[in-house]
């Protein structure tokens, strides 16, 4: 068991390293001269040269990568071309709203999607099942910002139940914080709910056919107890996997959601950086989110051993 945990933690080291190499190499594999493109059309040759040096394009790949990765490992992601501030500081300033948005969306999505998936599996082939599956297809097909504008139009502009946009930090109280995040979470959660509900349903269908489920029902246990305790626990590994892998969708979607709802998070920072062609900031955001993604999936992998001890052997 401890051997498994140690092996699993060690196995993320090469992934982190490779992510670093990939993110850094983008500068070198991009066609044309990235420094000139980032500097823009009106830039003087001196500007281009300055940017080239900031990005580390003036020396060989290996030398630059060594320097860069060494600094990344101690938390230095370089400086923004536009504002001159350290990228780490810029991201840290914007981290709160993004983490809030993702946490609320994650909680809300899991609370909605898992019961929906269980229900669809339990009522397989009925209208309940079909309704959940139609919702899932819609969730996969409606882009984040389409749902975002739709729910804002209905719940904010017409019904005035929620703010159109903006963000209240947690310091101002849990109520206002949560109130402002309802619509963003609703739009960001669409794809995520669809994914988790589908996986839950498929995993439950597999488990519900097992003998021990019939035994549990036959000895008189209630349906709810059998579904949520016996079946769901055994179906939980693929469900947890989909929650982890789906985080990539959440992270990408957060960038858009934040710009639709004017939430001052990392996504907003990214969009501003795109407009200013501030590559160090974009690079930093990609790297931080990839590491967060790898880290969370590592943690979920370790959670598996609690859900299904067989995995550790």
């Amino acid at each position: 068991m401890y051997g498994y945990i140690a092996r699993r933690i060690l196995s993320t080291i090469p992934v982190v390293l490779i992510v670093g190499v990939i993110v850094f190499s983008l500068l070198f594999v991009a066609p044309g001269d990235p420094a000139a493109i980032i500097a823009g059309d009106q830039a003087s040759p001196a500007d281009v040269e300055r940017i080239r040096r900031t990005l580390g394009l003036d020396q060989s790949f290996l030398v630059q990568f060594g320097h860069w990765f060494g600094r990344v490992m101690v938390g230095d992601l370089g400086t923004s071309i536009f504002s001159g501030k350290p990228v780490t500081e810029l991201i840290a300033l914007r981290f709160g709203p993004t983490v809030s948005l993702m946490l609320v969306t994650l909680t809300f999505s899991v609370l909605v999607a898992v019961p929906l998936g269980v229900l669809a599996a339990a009522r397989r082939g009925t209208w309940v099942d079909s309704a959940v599956m139609v919702m899932a297809v819609l969730g996969f097909s409606l882009p984040v910002f389409v749902v975002g504008y739709l729910v804002t139009y209905i719940f904010a502009l017409q019904l005035h139940a929620f703010p159109v946009q903006g963000y209240k930090p947690l310091d101002e109280g849990v109520g206002p914080w949560l109130h402002g995040l309802v619509l963003p979470a609703l739009s960001l959660g669409g794809v995520y709910i669809a994914l988790i509900a589908r996986v839950t349903r498929a995993a439950m269908l597999e488990v519900l056919g097992q003998d021990y489920i019939r035994t549990a029902r036959a000895k008189g246990l209630g349906l709810g107890r059998v579904l949520f305790l016996h079946a769901l626990k055994n179906a939980s590994v693929p469900v947890v996997t989909s929650i982890g892998l789906g985080l990539a969708l959440l992270i990408g979607g957060a960038v858009v959601t934040e710009s639709v709802f004017a939430i001052p998070g990392v996504g907003r920072l990214t969009v501003d950086a795109i407009l200013q062609r501030d590559y160090p900031v974009i690079q930093g955001v990609v790297l931080v989110f990839s590491f967060v993604y790898v880290g969370i999936n590592l943690m979920l992998d370790l959670v598996y051993t609690l859900l299904d001890p067989r995995i550790a052997y």
Partner: protein
């Protein structure tokens, strides 16, 4: 009617031997005809029909009552839909109907191209990785690394380094999909190569490239087709997202993402500017996803009994 089984004939033996290898189009017999096929596969029928209509719009965009989608008319800014401008006009007086119809071209082009580019690249890498052990390790580690970067962020980073063009958008989106295709193909190959007919080919003295191309490839194609359809759908969404946040198609190209990005400023007073491209995009993606679900049910009978 009664001669036709509603479900594919039971192939228990085949399924146990090779679950990854469903028979391609098991229900399609010449006697049943296209109509019968579509009736038994409503998802393919609906998704395919909508997609064909959209393809028609894209190809004949110039002949569907459209005007120049870039023609500016400052005197007619942000007009609501009318008989003259079916979808109204945007902030600088361009005809929205024309822009949305021309936008079909961008969306379909990006969707299909990304699906093709990602499938072929992933297929090539996956086949080689699945067959040559010494390539497998290093290549799959790189793929793991690529998969650890959230796809939209990877595309954003690539777009920030290149000049905005539809071609670059296609490449930026496709790169994130390659590892997913690669994994799928590799796992197909790994299960296929253990089967007796491959062993037979090896014994018969076929060369490795020949075994890969003639024996493994055809059997790995079915799951890939389904995957490619889903890639097409998500690529359309990603293109719109990239354009929407300013990292996608150049602003002079009427893509649905661009139209929505331009409509953002006015959206609380003129929601129709965003609504028309949003609805078009949703319908298109829905059609492709339906087609994908239909193909999956058709090509993988196991999931058909589940879904």
């Amino acid at each position: 009617m009664n001669r036709e089984p509603t479900r594919p004939p039971d192939r228990v033996g085949a399924v146990i031997a090779a679950p990854e290898m469903p028979e391609i189009m098991p229900e399609f017999s010449p006697r049943a005809g296209v109509i019968g096929f579509l009736r038994r596969n409503p998802k393919i029928a609906v998704g395919g029909t909508i997609l064909l209509l959209l393809l028609f719009c894209a190809v004949f965009a110039g002949f569907l009552g459209t005007v120049d989608p870039g023609a500016i008319a400052p005197s007619r800014r942000a007009r609501p839909p009318s008989p003259e401008h079916w979808f109204g006009t945007d902030m600088i007086g361009r005809d929205l109907y024309s822009r949305v119809v021309y936008g079909t071209r961008v969306s379909l082009f990006v969707g299909f191209s990304v699906a093709l580019v990602a499938s072929f690249t992933g297929l090539a890498i996956g086949l080689v990785a699945g067959f040559l052990k010494w390539v497998d390790g290093p290549v799959m580690r790189v793929m793991d690394g690529l998969m650890s970067i959230p796809p939209i962020l990877l595309a954003v980073a690539l777009m920030a380094l290149t000049r905005g063009s539809v071609g670059n958008v296609v490449i930026a989106i496709a790169i994130a999909d390659v590892p997913r295709v690669c994994r799928l193909v590799r796992s197909s190959v790994l299960s296929l190569r253990e089967l007796p007919f491959i062993e037979g080919a090896v014994t018969a003295g076929s060369s490795t490239p020949r075994i890969i191309l003639r024996h493994v490839l055809p059997n790995a194609l079915a799951p890939l087709t389904v995957q490619a359809t889903y890639i097409c759908a998500s690529a359309m969404i990603t293109e719109a997202i990239l354009s929407f946040i300013g990292a996608g198609s150049p602003p002079d190209i009427p893509s649905w993402g661009n139209i929505m990005a331009e409509g953002r400023v006015l959206w609380q007073v003129k929601p129709f500017i965003i609504a028309f491209p949003a609805v078009s995009l949703s319908i298109t993606v829905l059609a492709v996803n339906l087609l994908g679900d239909g193909l999956r049910d058709l090509l993988d009978p196991r999931s058909a009994t589940k879904a």
